[in-house]
């Protein structure tokens, strides 16, 4: 099994790459669509601004690749900004169109009740039982967030986990068929984060065996 990490010039890929390797899985980090197509599953990481990210992806022909993967049965995992990109649009520095793979829009936190960014360890709530999350639920359930925008108007059926930040429900894991998004950084989230990554990698393995 080989995991492809999509390198589009945004953010720190090293930690994601190392975390997957620690779980004993081969990784290829690339910006080349042809090379990424060979992987059994793809990770879309990302740190930075939404608009820059979409432009970088588009310029390198990677939007097409991601959209193709989304309608195939190959697993795709978006992390942090990578998850936000999967939605229809974002209001980060103006209105920008996203990949539109998941229903919903990215909004800025706006409340005097809490500080922005939402930065630090928060605990996950799991609204519905999903087998790939079982191992993570047995840990302390805390993951590391750093973000100023969050997903809204999403499909409740696709919400696998959320965190509570003052009065705001923060979608933490979204999941639709082969597409998964994590708003926090599993690669920086200790035991729970590693359990979530491992859970996701197991779904890739199962997929691989059945095809």
């Amino acid at each position: 099994m080989k995991i492809g990490i999509i390198d589009y010039g945004m953010g720190n890929l090293f930690s994601v790459e190392q975390a997957v390797k620690r779980l004993g899985v081969d990784v290829v980090t690339s910006s080349d669509a042809t090379e990424l197509q060979m992987a059994d599953a793809l990770i879309l990481p990302g740190v930075g601004a939404f608009e820059d990210a979409i432009k970088c992806l588009d310029r390198s022909g990677l939007c097409q690749l991601i959209n193709d993967v989304a309608v195939s049965d190959k697993p795709l995992l978006g992390i942090c900004l990578g998850m936000q990109l999967l939605f229809e649009s974002s209001e980060e520095n103006g209105q920008h169109k996203g990949l539109g793979i998941l229903k919903g829009h990215i909004k800025k936190f706006s409340s005097i009740q809490y500080r922005i960014p939402h930065m630090g360890w928060n605990n996950l709530h799991f609204p519905q039982p999903e087998s790939w999350l079982t191992a993570a639920q047995k840990t302390d359930g805390h993951v590391y967030f750093v973000h100023s925008y969050y997903a809204s108007q999403y499909d409740e059926q696709q919400l696998s986990a959320y965190a509570q930040y003052a009065d705001q429900v923060v979608p933490a894991i979204v999941h639709k068929d082969n597409v998964t998004g994590m708003q926090f950084h599993p690669e920086k989230s200790g035991e729970c984060g590693m359990a979530l990554l491992e859970g996701w990698l197991n779904t890739v393995q199962v997929k691989e065996q059945t095809t």
């Binding site: 930690s15 630090g120 605990n123």
Partner: protein
């Protein structure tokens, strides 16, 4: 619910942890990666590496330390010390650091904060402020060079400016309290809390678990940092967290 963070700080010089760490359980107490792993196992929520190397070679070694730490651990960490340019930030973030901390470079050239925040996102940019109470100015003034030089600027004003420039977090060290173990500077942290809405890390003065409780409950700090009490095993990260949990503070 978002949890209060406990952050051990490691001073690294030419790739080695200094300030004589006394751990019998470690093979090599001077190895930053080994010490980072030790604190991770104790439940540290985050780590700060402060590079105090004097040489170019030392700084290159720091990059290796960062890379090794990011390969070994899955908790966030910040690198500070000697970060002056966008290029310096890029090197550390690419090597696997989650945040970089700017101090004197930001004072000399505040626009570096905005450049960093625009390029990497605010969440990567920590601004470190060393502050000391001045009776004649009736406020806290900024100090540089480990507290030796006074910079003619109020820490409160500077905090507001750096937040407006896009800093994602402030690491505030009280030079009055640093090394004294008499508790964090509650008055300073409270004053800052009133003027900025970004996360605040309190530093300087930690002597026991009660001090962490005070700064979290009285000044509403988001995180608290300590070095020597952890290094010299006067208390452990785990003991501090157990105490806070028993007192009802939200802790991971």
């Amino acid at each position: 619910m978002l949890k209060k963070r406990i952050i051990p700080c490691l001073d690294v010089k030419e790739g080695r942890v200094v300030k004589g760490v006394q751990f019998v359980s470690l093979r090599d107490a001077g190895d930053p990666v080994e010490l980072a792993t030790f604190y991770n196992e104790q439940g540290a929520d985050e780590l700060v590496f402060l590079d105090i190397s004097a040489t170019v070679e030392g700084r290159d070694t720091m990059e290796d330390v960062v890379r090794q730490t990011a390969s070994t651990l899955s908790i966030p960490f910040t690198v500070g010390g000697g970060i002056r340019t966008l290029e310096d930030m890029k090197r550390m973030l690419r090597a696997g650091a989650d945040k970089v901390s700017l101090n004197s470079a930001a004072l000399q050239n505040p626009s570096i904060i905005k450049e960093g925040a625009d390029y990497f996102g605010s969440q990567c940019i920590v601004v470190a402020i060393d502050a000391k109470w001045s009776a004649e100015e009736d406020t806290w003034m900024i100090y540089t060079h480990g507290g030796r030089n006074r910079f003619e600027r109020s820490a409160i004003e500077w905090a507001q400016q750096v937040a407006a420039l896009g800093a994602g977090e402030l690491l505030v060290t009280s030079m009055d309290g640093d090394g004294k173990k008499t508790g964090f500077d509650i008055a300073l942290m409270t004053a800052l809390r009133k003027v900025v809405n970004i996360p605040l890390i309190a530093s300087g003065g930690a002597g026991n678990a009660e001090h962490f409780y005070e700064v979290f409950t009285e000044a509403d700090a988001d995180a608290a940092l300590a070095a020597s009490i952890f290094h010299y095993k006067e208390t452990s990260v785990q003991q501090v967290k157990d105490y806070l949990r028993n007192q009802g503070v939200a802790i991971r």
